[in-house]
């Protein structure tokens, strides 16, 4: 009863989604967006007309102006600095625009250009000081804040009357300040245009990447040849220009040069930036985050003002939000990977009946023996990690190695070893096609094709993205084994979509169906996911009928058959379940049966743990990785089974010296060649009563050498 409940709970509750969602980069933008919705909702309930069109248009104008400044600050913060002088630059450029327009009577276009230039110059001062002279950004811009502010104070003492008495009546100027297009205020429209450009700039263009790189690590950026100082300086210039754009709209809207313009603006903008989730210290941030931050801060300050809060309350609210946001951000950035790694592992319920006996004297098809004790070792100590082995028509032996090479042992004595092809990722399953091309599944890379001359080509490394998956499952993470049908269709297994190759045992700990079987059509070059939700699919072998494949589910401890053609097309059927070990590769035997490697044997402790997902989750959270309970792969065997799923024979190495663990085996001319992913040798075992002329792919492709 309890087991049923547990199994239902783990079957229908998607535990694995939390870790996947948290490891997505958009979660960091989603949190401020949720906050924005909450704040908007709360104020719209407590204040009348908070979301009325007039009020919204007003907010949009303010948001546009402050949004421009926030964009500039975002740029500076992403590059790893900070710009506190924005409030004073805002005031000075506001003055500049009004002075040129009202006192000197310049035409509007000239005023716009001159104001932008003024902003650029003021920003350039910061840029030179921080970028080229490498002063501390915070203290430097704090000083320029006060210098610019005093300059502004001195200027308005002289000119404020002249500006206040002028009433320019220029339609284009009024349009900038108060106009709207289709009901959207000019400033908001301009902001949207620039924000979209900014997004493209930051995510798609080279300078934007440079900025993020410098913020991420200034020294690495310098070492990789990015002009660090110039880029930093230009960011401050851009901040000045963007601030002056905001000031232009402000000037045309209000036309005043009051003493308190821009005072404390830097705190508002900084709060918006940090609240939006742009990390202080640089390297992380986006235009969307900046925009969301501005909206939240504006809603809060406007809401507080509408509710007649005292000036101090507004100040406290801003400072408080700023502190909390900065703290959360800093702690999150510091602990992000740790938190994700804690919640990412999401074990699920997996029940297996008691395994069939293997002990000597108990009988049964799996009864242990010592047949593999005296196998001959090929390449002893010279090859590492031959997960799969294969022989070509000329009896040469191929095996993958941990170093990312395909090694070839030359017939007849297999003493000469050479690098057949260098790939760079670990080769796993292998198969020959009709043209003697070698197809290899490379862990972490995908499916590759090696021509007989040793040249390497990528066959495929991506498949269709499934809509319901949070993790991007279009890339192949762990292509494992393959076989080729008579029509040139390649079926290969991907063991897991949740873990990288080096983390495969964790997938066993989860025991969820994270794997899938994918097909690649050599004629059209298309890749398609055939089956998903499999528990670590591994070995694949085209069955003798030519209409189905047999595949092993390692942690499902079962062999299944999948029809890809014929009357039962699309159906999946169990061939063998409840194996005593974890099945790996499947290959054809000379007598029409199939060879199957059991990479490791089941243990009662893991079988029990698989029924206790809560226990495994606690273990993953509280115990260091190397102490976790993992599937045993220290001892295994080779078995032969027939079309009906009956075990015919089994081969063991009881002493555990030669071949304690076996991941693959190939029959070739009366011998069985054995590979193991943790072995330093390839085994060669003389089969009795086997066809001495059996060559697997000759038999498949119908040619004889």
């Amino acid at each position: 009863m309890r087991d049923t409940l547990t199994s239902l709970r783990y079957r229908y509750w998607p535990d694995h989604l939390l870790g996947e969602i948290l490891s997505k980069r958009w979660t960091e933008t989603a949190i401020p967006v949720i906050l924005l919705l909450i704040v908007g909702f709360a104020f719209s309930r407590s204040i009348d007309n908070f979301l009325s069109p007039a009020s919204l248009a007003d907010t949009a104008r303010q948001a546009g102006e402050i949004g421009f400044i926030a964009l500039g600050l975002a740029l500076v913060v992403i590059v790893g600095g900070i710009d506190l002088s924005v409030g004073s630059i805002f005031a000075l450029t506001d003055f500049c625009a009004l002075y040129l327009l009202d006192v000197l009577g310049w035409p509007v276009p000239a005023v716009v250009v001159a104001t932008l230039l003024c902003g650029a110059t003021l920003g350039a001062v910061n840029g030179i000081l921080v970028g080229y002279l490498r002063l501390r950004a915070f203290i430097t811009t704090l000083i320029t804040l006060i210098i610019y502010r005093s300059a502004y104070d001195l200027l308005i003492q002289r000119y404020s009357n002249a500006i206040a008495s002028a009433f320019p009546d220029i339609p284009s100027w009024d349009f900038i300040g108060a106009g709207s297009v289709f009901g959207i205020p000019t400033v908001a429209l301009a902001y949207i245009v620039i924000a979209i450009f900014g997004h493209i700039f930051m995510t798609r263009l080279r300078p934007g990447w440079h900025i993020t790189a410098i913020g991420g690590s200034r020294r690495s950026a310098y070492n990789s040849g990015i002009p660090v100082r110039r880029t930093i300086a230009l960011c401050y210039v851009a901040s000045g220009v963007l601030t002056s754009i905001g000031a232009l709209f402000f000037a045309s809207r209000l036309g005043t040069v009051g003493g308190d313009i821009g005072v404390g603006l830097e705190v508002i903008v900084l709060t918006a930036t940090v609240l939006g989730g742009i990390t202080l210290g640089g390297g992380k941030g986006s235009v969307a985050k900046s925009a969301v931050g501005v909206l939240i801060v504006l809603l809060i300050t406007n809401g507080l003002t509408t509710m007649n809060a005292r000036g101090g309350v507004n100040r406290m609210a801003l400072a408080g939000i700023l502190l909390v946001a900065a703290m959360v951000d800093i702690r999150w950035q510091k602990n992000r990977t740790r938190i994700i790694s804690k919640v990412y592992v999401a074990p699920t319920y997996h029940e297996l009946p008691p395994p069939p006996p293997t002990e000597i004297g108990q009988g049964g098809p799996f009864e242990q023996n010592d047949k593999l004790r005296d196998v001959e070792a090929i390449g002893l100590g010279r090859i590492e990690a031959p997960e799969d082995v294969i022989l070509d028509r000329h009896d040469n032996l191929y095996a993958g190695s941990r170093h990312g090479d395909i090694m070839r042992f030359l017939a007849p004595d297999y003493q000469t070893m050479e690098v057949f092809a260098h790939i760079g990722g670990q080769p796993l399953g292998m198969a020959f096609d009709r043209e003697d091309n070698l197809y290899v599944c490379i862990g972490g890379m995908g499916l590759y094709r090696i021509k007989p001359d040793g040249s390497v080509e990528k066959a495929t490394d991506e498949t269709n993205r499934s809509m319901r998956s949070v993790n991007d499952d279009s890339r192949l993470r762990l292509a494992d084994d393959l076989d080729i049908t008579d029509d040139g269709l390649i079926f290969f297994s991907e063991a897991t979509v949740r873990y990288e190759m080096d983390e495969w045992p964790i997938d066993g700990l989860e025991a969820r169906g994270n794997g899938r079987i994918i097909s690649y059509d050599t004629k059209t070059g298309t890749t398609r996911t055939e089956l998903r939700g499999l528990k670590f699919p591994n070995g694949i072998c085209v069955a003798s009928d030519g209409q189905s494949i047999l595949f092993a589910e390692t942690f499902g401890c079962s062999i299944k058959r999948y029809w890809f053609a014929g009357p039962k097309k699309g159906a999946v059927e169990m061939v063998m379940d409840n194996l005593p070990g974890y099945p790996d590769n499947i290959n054809l035997a000379s007598d029409g049966n199939y060879w199957l490697a059991l990479v490791g044997m089941r243990s009662p402790s893991l079988d029990l743990a698989w029924k206790m997902p809560g226990f495994r989750r606690r273990m993953a959270k509280r115990v260091p990785v190397d102490e976790w309970l993992f599937p045993n792969i220290n001892t295994g065997c080779v078995v032969k089974f027939n079309e009906q799923g009956k075990i015919v024979e089994s081969f063991w190495d009881l002493h555990g010296e030669n071949h304690p663990m076996i991941t693959s085996m190939r029959e070739h001319r009366g011998y069985l060649y054995l590979g193991g992913i943790l072995n330093n040798r390839i085994g060669r075992y003389k089969l009795e009563n086997a066809d001495p002329n059996f060559v697997q792919y000759d038999k498949r492709w119908g040619k004889q050498s």
Binding site: I143, T279, R310, G312, R331
Partner: protein, 323 residues
């Protein structure tokens, strides 16, 4: 370069002497006994604040919220006495508020690892906002009869020297003792010199950093009491002024590098004298408030640039995001 670095305080002192000389010759009314007393009285508060700032700067931090600590707790004392509480109760409340404030600062910087400039910028606003919103009825908190006697902290003379200067002297001695004679002082220097080395050596970095900010806030509160006593009121809008830049000027010009681990009380005294002379001279020259700010800003900028050349940032221990 190295020789130059050793002599920095002497250079600043020479600049001070030169400035003093120039002002004495060219400015009418500069070198009078009255003006000298005013000068010293004016700089006393600045000097005490400089000492407070020096402690955190030596520990490789900075405290922008110092002016809030100067304005709000002493303002609270005046306000509470005005409202009829006794002076000791009010003082105790103010001290507790200051300690709590210092703890918040220190916790944010040491444990939450928020950069000190950023954290104190925000906490300063928070405290000032709290004062404005909840504590004070008016921007200037007036002296009330219950405070009588307390004004001697900032007014009058002892042995012919104004009390506020005595207060500065006492603060100097206390801070010098703390920095040079106690283990905690040595720890502060070690943390400022190389925080990571200090930490692996076994120095309790985090508690010491918290301690720094608590002491700084307390000294700031003390400076505020002296200020309030000398002007018989607490103008809480002082938080909006540029006083904090004067304090940073004192520290940086005095030769306490912003990269931490260097300098001491003597640097603060020299810096205070220089800034005091400068401010006094500008006031006599009748330069407007904005003009004074402009000049101070430029001087501070030059000082920071010079500081960055004399005490370059240690790239090995500078943190990413150490803005």
């Amino acid at each position: 370069m190295k020789r130059f670095r050793v002599n920095q305080q002497e250079i600043v002192f020479a600049v001070f002497a030169l400035l003093f000389l120039v002002f004495s010759i060219f400015l009418n009314g500069f070198l009078t006994a009255d003006n000298m007393l005013t000068l010293l009285q004016n700089v006393a508060v600045l000097g005490i604040l400089g000492l407070a700032m020096a402690i955190v700067v030596i520990g490789r931090g900075i405290d922008i919220s110092l002016i809030a600590a100067l304005a709000v707790p002493p303002g609270l004392v005046l306000q509470m006495v005005q409202n009829g509480h006794s002076l000791p109760t009010s003082l105790l409340t103010a001290v507790l508020l200051t300690i709590a404030f210092g703890l918040v600062n220190g916790w944010l910087i040491a444990y939450a690892e928020v950069p000190s400039l950023f954290a104190t910028l925000a906490t300063g606003l928070l405290l000032a906002g709290l004062g404005q919103a909840a504590l004070f009825q008016l921007d200037v908190v007036q002296w009330s009869p219950g405070m009588n006697g307390f004004e001697r902290l900032g007014q009058g003379t002892v042995l012919g020297i104004p009390t506020s200067i005595w207060m500065f002297a006492i603060a100097c001695i206390v801070v010098a003792f703390l920095l040079r004679q106690t283990r905690w002082g040595a720890y502060i220097y070690a943390i400022g010199d190389n925080p990571y080395a200090a930490r692996v050596t076994g120095i309790p970095s985090r508690p010491i950093i918290v301690l720094q900010y608590v002491i700084t806030a307390l000294i700031g509160c003390f400076a505020g009491l002296v200020l309030a006593a000398s002007v018989n009121s607490m103008p809480t809008r002082i938080f909006n002024s540029t006083l904090i830049y004067d304090v940073i000027l004192v520290v940086v010009l005095g030769g306490i590098g912003l990269s931490g681990g260097r300098g001491g009380v003597l640097n603060v005294i020299i810096g205070t004298l220089l800034i005091g002379t400068m401010l006094n001279g500008m006031t006599i020259m009748d330069i407007s408030y904005a003009g004074q700010n402009l000049i101070k800003g430029v001087v501070l900028l030059l000082a920071v640039i010079t500081d960055s050349f004399l005490n370059p940032r240690n790239e090995e221990t500078a943190q990413q995001g150490d803005i």
